[in-house]
Symmetry: C2
Subunit: 539 residues, 2 copies
């Protein structure tokens, strides 16, 4: 009797939820799978091939298959891939955390190279993939595709998966490579999204030099304003927290304000159609340079790990999502009529992705090397190959753009659109699984001089390292990064012999200490909290 | 030209988002308002009348008014109050955090009283309000209301606002009062939701003693299973984290797993139509007792503050939401035709809420006092008045239940339904604003012996206190709570003189140390992390 009542009231409690698209069952299943991914990912950590992304993708695929059988082939996914959900909720924490945890010195030292790779490189890749697909798809029976579709394909497959890159590369093991590939990935994602959006409004029947010029101006304008917006919001958060002395009253309020203002920067950028990805990335950098030093010790530990955790959950969520959505029966049914074409298209796209990336990594590395005077700053051939390989993975950004282009107004029934969607899924799955599997061993093989620790992972190491910093001698020119791992002493004589970017960095430091830090706070510019014993340990 | 391109691409970027119900503008506005609430709330903190809930409500009302004027009276709210959103995303973090941070000893010492107040009290209040409204509304012209509507009103207005209670009462200033009122609030919320759901399935035309019996059995069954589920999930998380040694590898993974498993407990409870509120509350208690001691120091600091921050953001969100939604023009237009009736209904409901609460606080306190032998455990008259007053606020749970009952199948156009919705809004606004404003000064007046600090707030104090704990002498019987504020030494002789609940606690401690902690971890049962300097400070 009791069970009966329970059963009836269950339906009653579910009733209002059924009306909504979000079902309690779907959320429960997803959260349970996320837990499973973390546990299994942890158990497989010692394995040098597998990473967390691949685990999540595999679990997603397996769950999709099980659902497919239990629902007797009707449906394999409990949540349909939704690009708004991805761009509004899942992507911001990942990119913000990347900016927040990035080694600022490495990033800005390689700033020019990163920008060159991210903007010029993406444009080259876009050109190669668009032209290549337009030429090669003619020989296949792929249904009706217009010029705009080919250009869209170029933008879709130029977006490197910066999420997967984060998983495969390690900031502490290969710092230069990490900052180059990941920094490029962020700029590259932004460039792809900008190209994609710009394409949808340019009149493609009249491509003139005027259009190209407007396109370039528009791109520069977007990059500049997006960066400035991120910097402005970051500085505002630093100023508010420093001025109002939040931390002396409530750690929770400080942390809440940092999270909300970071998210606000992204949403404002999206509202004014700037690149939210770039905005939130630079907001993260500014917050880690100023705001983070204005808060209490508890807030420092909390923000560092809470942001990393949110990013971590979003990453697994995305791969789980992509894995489960890959088995969508509808699209595969349409494609199933001509399996050969589908395989051909996927293979061509994969090859174009590889060629397109090679077409800019090697030439641009050459240009970058020509501008560098110090041999240590030049990019060697082995590094070039690693950069090329590490950026081959395609992920959720490509998926989201492809869904936007090819499922508009429910056109998945069309042959051409269905093939493009399934091919995107195939490329994403193949590149993440196969390229992703090989990347870790490849880096060990190509760059064997680096120390590949097999002990505790880096995220744990970096979190305990700050405690060791005060043991090192203190000096005026010493630069201790947020993670406390990088301590360099720059003599004034050596300074003159160094490359321009170092001198720029020197003047920036002077400006920062003289004008910025007194206003916005930062290391050494915020009074100590009385009564907090860990202050000296954590600083 | 550039701006023009920006403008066009803005529309393009917005295009897919416009399709969705969630607009970028609404989210941006909400996040900006949340930031404003935190800053203004911080500035008003010294004010002894205002609390954060009232600030958020006021900002919501002001924004609603501005929107009303700028849209020329068409709409005042950018997001419509959505009960699924509230129950699935906003409520769980608040209740989980309450369980996680609650002083376990105080809570379990008063467990019987809390259950008595929460279950029997809510039933009495439900009866008084249902009967009272059915009798009194006859004399007003309130449109067509059925018996089920009156019973629903009873359930709706029996739900104390535990969120607001958390804001007004302070765990460190008035610990006994806090655990009584808040603990009662959690059980009370759960009881109201259970009554509400049960009502919708009982055939009200045949109320017999059989129905009453089934109702009681169903209620007990739900409370028991909900609690057990929460305990089970909490223990599972402790076991997994202890067994797999997560912390030695990644703090982020630990924190992610704790967040996800806490949420999972809530969702499983909802899926099986148990009381998610009770489940997640007990899951929080178990996690703070076992799981929290199995993680690294960084995870300890992070979880403590991350959970509090999430809860804090959800709380402000709810009040902002309620404030903005209060000015929904549609409902007020219908009601506007008979303003007298609307005011009358609101006033009657307010009085019934006060009478209903008085009808159980004073009699049940008497019963509770009769069972207590020690004078110090008895509830004095001043405390009774404070308990009565502190639970008068009605909040988001009432709103959500009212929307569920009176807006089903778009019946807001009906006179009776519209009046019930606007009256609910009026009662929520009035009780939160007016009762809320008076509560803090009332407590100071009624219980002046307590120490009311005006320095740094308690959340900051409690977060620095753990560092002081190792300075105190260690003993076998010493009981250090998670917050480190409560250190009591219980002699074996005194033990015999104490009330039964203390002896139960003593045996529970023995059982815990002998069987539970060796399996699930807990204070003193987890090996130290080598190389972590703060270990001794944070333990």
């Amino acid at each position: 009797m009791v069970l009966n009542i329970g059963g009836t009231s269950m339906r009653l409690l579910m009733r209002p939820l059924e009306d909504d698209q979000v079902s309690v069952f779907a959320i429960t299943l997803f959260v349970a799978l996320l837990c499973a991914c973390i546990v299994i990912g942890h158990l497989l950590e010692k394995n040098r091939w597998i990473n967390e992304s691949i685990t999540a993708l595999a679990i997603g695929l397996i769950t999709g298959t099980i659902l497919l059988f239990t629902t007797e082939g009707r449906s394999s996914h409990v949540l349909v891939f939704n690009e708004e959900f991805f761009f509004i909720y899942l992507l911001p924490p990942i990119i913000f955390n990347a900016g927040f945890q990035v080694k600022k010195k490495q990033f800005f030292r390689n700033f020019m190279t990163i920008t060159l790779f991210g903007v010029a490189g993406t444009l080259i890749s876009f050109g190669v993939i668009s032209f290549g697909s337009a030429q090669l798809f003619k020989h296949l029976n792929v249904g009706l595709l217009e010029l705009s579709d080919y250009l869209a394909l170029g933008a879709i497959f130029s977006a490197t998966d910066s999420v997967c890159t984060l998983q495969v590369l390690n900031q502490d093991e290969t710092p230069i490579l990490y900052s180059l590939v990941f920094g490029e990935g962020v700029v590259n994602d932004a460039t792809s999204v900008v190209i994609f959006n710009a394409l949808q409004k340019v009149d493609l029947s009249h491509i003139t030099s005027d259009v190209a010029l407007r396109f370039t101006v528009s791109l520069s304008y977007l990059f500049l304003t997006s960066t400035l917006l991120g910097v402005a919001v970051g500085l505002l958060s630093a100023y508010i927290i420093k001025k109002l002395y939040f931390g002396r009253h409530s750690t929770d309020r400080e942390v809440a304000l940092m999270i909300l203002m970071a998210y606000l920067s992204y949403m404002i950028a999206e509202l004014f159609s700037l690149s939210g990805i770039m905005t939130v990335f630079f907001c993260g950098i500014v917050m880690s340079h100023y705001t983070w030093h204005n808060v209490t010790d508890n807030s420092k530990v909390t923000t560092k790990h809470a942001f990393a955790t949110l990013s971590f959950i979003s990453e697994i969520f995305i791969f789980l999502y992509v894995g489960m959505d890959a088995l969508d029966i509808e699209k595969w049914k349409v494609v199933g009529k001509s399996p050969g074409t589908s395989v051909g298209v996927s293979a061509i796209l994969l090859i174009l992705v590889m060629v397109g990336r090679a077409a800019f990594v090697f030439p641009l590395s050459l240009i970058s090397n020509l501008t560098q005077k110090l041999a240590s700053n030049k990019i060697g051939l082995k590094h070039q190959v690693t950069i090329w390989w590490s950026g081959l993975m395609r992920g959720a950004v490509s998926m989201a753009l492809a869904y936007n282009q090819f499922t508009r107004s429910g056109h998945t029934q069309l042959m051409g659109n269905a093939i493009m969607i399934t091919s995107t899924i195939s490329v994403v799955l193949f590149s993440t699984m196969v390229f992703g599997l090989i990347t870790k061993p490849l880096i060990s093989f190509m760059l064997p001089l680096q120390n590949h620790s097999t002990g505790p992972s880096e995220s744990e190491l970096s979190s305990t390292k700050p405690f060791m910093v005060p043991l090192l001698p203190n000096g005026q020119d010493e630069q201790i990064e947020m993670n406390g791992c990088e301590v360099t002493r720059v003599g004034s004589l050596r300074m003159l012999l160094m490359t321009p970017s170092h001198t720029v960095h020197y003047y920036w430091r002077k400006f920062d200490d003289a004008y910025m830090r007194p206003v916005f706070g930062g290391r050494g510019f915020v009074p100590h909290v009385p009564g907090s014993l860990t202050e000296s340990l954590l600083q």
